[in-house]
Amino acid sequence: MPVLVEEKSTQIFQKFFVFWDRVGILLAFLVVFVMFGALTPVFFHPLNILNVIRQVSIIGVIAVGMTFVILLGGIDLSVGSIVAFTGIIAAGFQVKWGGSLFLSIVVPLLIGGGIGFLNGFISTKGKLHPFIVTLGMMSIFRGATLLVAQGKPISGMSPAFRFIGAGMVGPIPFPVILFLGCVVIAGIVLKRTVFGRYIYAIGGNEEAALLSGIMVERYKISAFTLLGFLSGLSGLILTSRLNSGELVAGQGYELDVIASVVIGGTSLMGGEGGVYGTLIGALLIGVVSNGLNLLGVQPYWQMIVKGIIVIFAVLLDRLKRRFRTA
């Protein structure tokens, strides 16, 4: 008799998690969204909504890349430093080294991709955990940023460069278009291409993927390279938006980025999740911060709330796995 009861409750949990898998995070987001709207009507103002998406886009662009890396069971802590380094390089080309718009966009993106490639190459070929490799890179490129900038922020970008972070296409801020563009493209790549399917296959069971002839290392390096490139893009957006290459730029970004991905339902174990979840995860973090600001809540609470959401999200993931295998 007790066995039967247990089975029944397990079934209910299983049903709940199937349901949660599909729409849970979206539902949670909507609840928070409506709650803030009810508390401060100005929250729903279209301008405020655009503000939030624009604020989120800088983190969000990186989170799109991080989704690929985490799907493969990896992690990258160097993203914030890449943002700062590529940002200062962009600012350098704008202000100090001739002011070429082309170079100030292309060089930082290539450097971002290059650092990502190194992250992937060293961790796969050297058989090191990416946590350690990227931790080292985080320090290297924070230092390199200071070195290039000689301890001073570089400011005063050209109007054309400022379009990247501050420009508008009709009523929509340009960074929002970049961010949503990245999400859509990444979504298609993950679901509709061989590349995407293999990423899930490797993340789900690396050994099996390797035995079935997938070039696991090549895919991992590609994912890190993509993430580095997108961190470079984020560096461009931030530098353009602030009109300044800042030395402290991107500090702590890795936490917000990883939180966005995890809240969005991508498992830190790899193989499960997707980029649309990441979009919602990033928006959720942005909405909470914006809503609490509008309400005039002390900033300390924002950190506490963010932490609770992250732990809750990971806990759900863990429970989901347990009941699926039960």
Binding site: L146, E246, N290
Partner: protein, 320 residues
């Protein structure tokens, strides 16, 4: 062969140590420990010290990066003691945590001068002198400037003022806000809304965007450093709801970018604390003590902060 190599190694070692001690006996070696050189502010302090050292002559300055990390700063100071520096010029990251390191300096008889930020009052350690800016007074002056401008605008002191505060818990953030609010409290018709923007431009912009949405009327914005007010100005400018030149904006630190905006009439004022003068004065006091044994008259030297507006731009140090 083995003996030859051993002899060579010992020989080189001896020569090096003799040369090293000679170099040390000739020069004064002074260690600098600042929170982080990634802030333009501290990079500038460092430069001011190095300039002063070059001017005084015969002094080696060792500056190490603490990455704004208290435990790193403590180990840097311990390393300096082992290296045998003659004196230490210190900007403590935090008021209390660095005290054990200062105790160790006291034990080693190495004099310490603090600049810009103080250690906790009443701590059981010896500080030769503190040279700093009066951040509370700076906050007061910013508030008085805004009150004056509001009175000009409305005929009486009233309106809505946004205060962007610095990193929670940091000394300058606490002091500037305390001074600012001490004055503002005297005017019941002025509404002050505060939120932290962590001394960062990015956060200044974000928080301001949110204030623009939540607050229909904004008469003045005070940023507890220039980075934050620069971010806020960009948010105001992009909002289309407010005219930046109409809103009274006041920053703090007199960064060159802020001074440029004052010249253009966008920013109304910034508070100059003369960091170069602070650092140079502190360094001079330390050197004088080491070379001539002169103990400073006062153990606390305050450099008076000043409101910089379009009318007295040339009084700013402008040296970043």
């Amino acid at each position: 062969m083995r003996k030859l190599i051993l002899g060579l190694v010992i020989g080189v070692f001896l020569v090096c140590s003799v040369l090293g001690s000679l170099a040390l006996s000739k020069d004064l070696t002074i260690g600098l420990s600042f929170p982080s050189l990634s802030f333009a502010w501290f990079a500038f302090l460092e430069q001011a010290v190095k300039d002063k050292a070059a001017q005084l002559g015969g002094i080696e300055v060792i500056s190490l990066e603490a990455e704004n990390n208290v435990s790193k700063q403590i180990s840097i100071i311990e390393d300096m003691i082992i290296k045998g520096v003659d004196g230490v010029l210190l900007v403590p990251i935090e008021v209390e945590a660095v005290i054990p390191a200062i105790e160790a300096l006291n034990k080693a008889n190495i004099p310490v001068v603090t600049v810009d930020r103080r250690i906790k009052e009443g701590a059981p350690v010896q500080i030769l002198c503190h040279v700093g800016a009066d951040n509370v007074e700076g906050g007061r002056k910013a508030a008085k400037f805004i009150v004056e401008k509001l009175t000009e605008k409305y005929g009486e002191p009233k309106g809505v003022v946004i205060e962007l505060t610095g990193t929670p818990g940091a000394g300058p953030a606490i002091d500037r806000s305390a001074g600012f609010n001490e004055i503002m409290k005297q005017y019941p018709n002025i509404v002050v809304k505060s939120q932290t923007a962590n001394f960062r431009r990015e956060d200044g912009m974000k928080v301001m965007e949110d204030f623009i949405m939540s607050t229909p009327q904004i008469d003045a914005v005070f940023g507890a450093n220039d980075e934050m007010i620069l971010g806020a100005i960009q948010a105001l400018d992009a909002s289309g709801k407010f005219d930046v030149k109409e809103v009274i904006t006041v920053g703090f630190d007199a960064l060159p970018e802020a001074l440029k905006l004052i010249e253009e009439g966008v920013l109304d004022a910034t508070i100059e604390q003369f960091p170069g003068k602070q650092a140079a004065t502190a360094f001079e006091i330390l050197v004088k003590y080491l070379r001539e044994g002169v103990t400073p008259e006062k153990s606390l030297v305050y450099i008076e902060p000043k409101v910089i507006t379009k009318d007295n731009l040339n009084e700013a140090e402008k040296s970043f």
